[in-house]
């Protein structure tokens, strides 16, 4: 039964929700606003909120100084590529954990997750040396592989929790119907777990897109994605707030748009199975 919420309480809740939303959104808003200011106005104290001289010169200069298109392409290839490969590996792994668990499956899953508890810097040196020896430094291939491996535990875990919501009976029925394992996963499991797979995919793309630690340490010019591109605006010559904001805005715009259009899918996926 629906619970009746008194009108006044509803107003109060609306105001609180908007306030929380604005607080969370404020850094992004401020970045976007700053990107339209001159460098001088960007560091003005007290700051100007809306009434300043709006300008596009930061965008023009960022375009001139760096190859935005290259960085976008790198970001897209790395985040999409690593996600697709992670799913190709993660779906069968999660299938095995959810539907054919062995005595040590739980331990294995915990071990996978435990790799995410270690600070990445702890393995920076070995990874760097491996990359150097294998000629992977500053390559999109190397970074895609690394992003895939870094996010794989999350992909397996998310898929595992979604798959566990699917009745094993249905997969057994597919087996009885003569479906080999591949068909069982492609024709039965995947369509049923689609919301879960989609949200795993989106989350993974966002994580890979925003990743900065590895991209900063393992790329220079050729393979640098957008996160490295932003960082290049805090240079030894000084901090250019306005230009950096313009770069940030350009970097987050694609993922923000993707997130906006897929938010319904994302929310559905994240709460998938919460109510049968």
């Amino acid at each position: 039964m629906a619970r009746a919420i008194p009108q006044r309480r509803r107003w109060l809740l609306t105001v609180v929700a908007w306030a929380v939303g604005l607080v969370i959104f404020f850094p992004i808003l401020w970045t976007v606003l700053t990107s339209f200011k001159s460098e001088g106005e960007a560091i003005a104290s007290p700051p100007h909120f809306l009434f300043f001289h709006w300008t596009l010169e930061n965008y023009a200069e960022v375009q001139q100084r760096s190859n935005y298109l290259l960085h976008v392409t790198n970001s897209v290839v790395i985040s999409l590529g690593s996600t697709v490969i992670a799913l190709v590996i993660g779906v069968p792994a999660a299938w095995a954990a959810a539907f054919a668990p062995a005595r040590r499956t739980k331990d294995l899953l915990m071990w996978m997750l435990s790799t995410k508890m270690m600070p990445p810097v702890g393995v920076l040196v070995p990874i760097y040396l491996l990359f150097r020896d294998w000629g992977l430094l500053d390559t999109v291939t190397g970074l895609t592989a690394l992003m895939m491996l870094v996010n794989l535990p999350i992909v397996v875990w998310m898929l595992y929790t979604y798959f566990r919501e699917i009745p094993a009976d249905i997969l057994e029925a597919a087996r009885m119907d003569g479906a080999p394992l591949f068909s069982e996963i492609v024709h039965v499991l995947a369509p049923m777990a689609l919301p879960g797979i989609a949200s795993t995919m989106l989350l993974n793309i966002i994580l890979a897109w925003n990743e900065a630690f590895w991209t900063l340490n393992l790329t220079a010019a050729n393979a640098a994605p957008l996160s490295a591109f932003i960082a290049s605006y805090s240079s030894p010559e000084g901090l250019f707030w306005a230009k950096r904001s313009a770069a940030s805005t350009m970097a987050i715009a694609p993922i923000l748009i993707l997130g906006w259009f897929s938010q319904r899918q994302l929310v559905r996926g994240l709460t998938f199975g919460a109510v049968k």
Partner: protein, 333 residues
């Protein structure tokens, strides 16, 4: 062809032994029902035949060919699940077509078989529906349709009617029996409901704690139960089991007499007692009578019987229909 043979089949999950040892032969075209209380291993036994579980020991032979390690997809068996296990994202048509698609049938052949199955099962008008839009009975028919299009060697039913309401259950029971008579394919049917077992089976396998207690036709089990467990499990209302002086008088530890084999009278009889609960079924009346020195005895009387709670009644068991059991529960012949 669908003869199935289990040879010394055992199954344990870790330490827990679910099936200590089963030998069973099922003839081609037979309708065999596995029946027993919950947790008796009947579903496990079915899943071992299906190949959804691996046997811990012994052999499964299907049509004379070793199938112990054959994956379920290649055993040529079809299964109908208690939960129907339909593919929720596919239409009824696609659900029924799925096994044919997996077997790489021609699209034209698939279409013909799906439509024929839908016709048989009265599903033609629902072919474009998704399972979520169907009632329980219709879903179960789709599950059966998905099983029959494959023309399997045998059908395995795992408590297929448990999720249906009582009236529908009776209907579906008849439909499945009719299906068996028209297809003449081997069917193995698991249920905990002895009425389903009695009404549908050619042969019943009574299971308890993973052991086969008795195998036989419904009437054999009814007339000559091999032990106390089968005697108590088969038949409704349950057989009266009586211990003490009455049993010893007949040289047994326990005697059993079915309620329908007891004559009730207002005036005279072997056992005198007072009437407790009276169940009026219309066609029959079931009297619960507390008999001195015997205990509570149920008697089934035809039609209406004019006795009420607290009144005196006399019961006489039919001496030729009394079952005798020894101290270890075995029937004394």
């Amino acid at each position: 062809m669908g003869a199935i043979r289990l040879e010394q089949v055992t199954k344990s999950f870790g330490e827990a032994v679910v099936i200590p040892r089963v030998d069973l032969e099922i003839a081609d075209g037979e309708f065999v029902v596995f029946v027993g209380p919950s947790g008796c291993g009947k579903s496990t036994l079915l899943r071992l035949i299906a190949g959804l579980e691996d046997v811990s020991g012994g052999r499964v032979v299907i049509d004379g060919a070793e199938a112990t390690r054959t994956p379920p997809a290649q055993r040529g068996l079809a299964m109908v699940f208690q939960s129907y296990a339909l593919y929720p994202h596919m239409s009824v048509y696609k659900n029924i077509a799925f096994p044919l698609k997996m077997a790489r049938n021609e699209p034209a052949a698939i279409d013909r078989k799906v439509r024929a199955a839908a016709q048989t099962l009265n599903l033609t008008q629902y072919l474009d529906y998704k399972p979520g839009q169907l009632s329980g009975g219709q879903r179960q028919r789709v599950a059966i349709g998905r099983a029959i299009v494959r023309e399997p060697k045998a059908f395995l039913f795992d408590e297929p009617l448990s999720n249906l309401d009582a009236a529908l259950r009776v209907n579906m029971r008849l439909e499945i029996t009719e299906l068996h008579q028209s297809l003449k394919t081997t069917m193995i049917y698991v249920t905990h409901d002895q009425v389903e077992a009695m009404t549908m089976a050619d042969r019943i396998v009574v299971l308890r704690a993973g052991n086969v207690e008795q195998v036989g036709s419904p009437i054999e089990l009814y007339r000559a139960p091999r032990n106390l467990f089968v005697a108590g499990f088969i038949g409704s209302p349950q057989m009266n089991l009586i211990q003490g002086a009455e049993a010893q008088k007949r040289g047994a530890e326990t005697i059993g007499v079915r309620p329908e084999h007891i004559r009730a009278s207002h005036h005279a009889g072997d056992w005198a007692g007072s009437v407790g609960i009276v169940e009026h079924l219309g066609s029959d009346t079931i009297l619960h009578v507390s008999v001195d020195g015997v205990g509570m005895v149920k008697a089934r009387v035809e039609g209406e019987f004019g006795l009420r709670h607290g009144q005196k009644a006399y019961l006489t068991p039919d001496p030729t229909k009394i079952h005798r059991f020894s101290a270890n529960g075995k029937t004394i012949l």
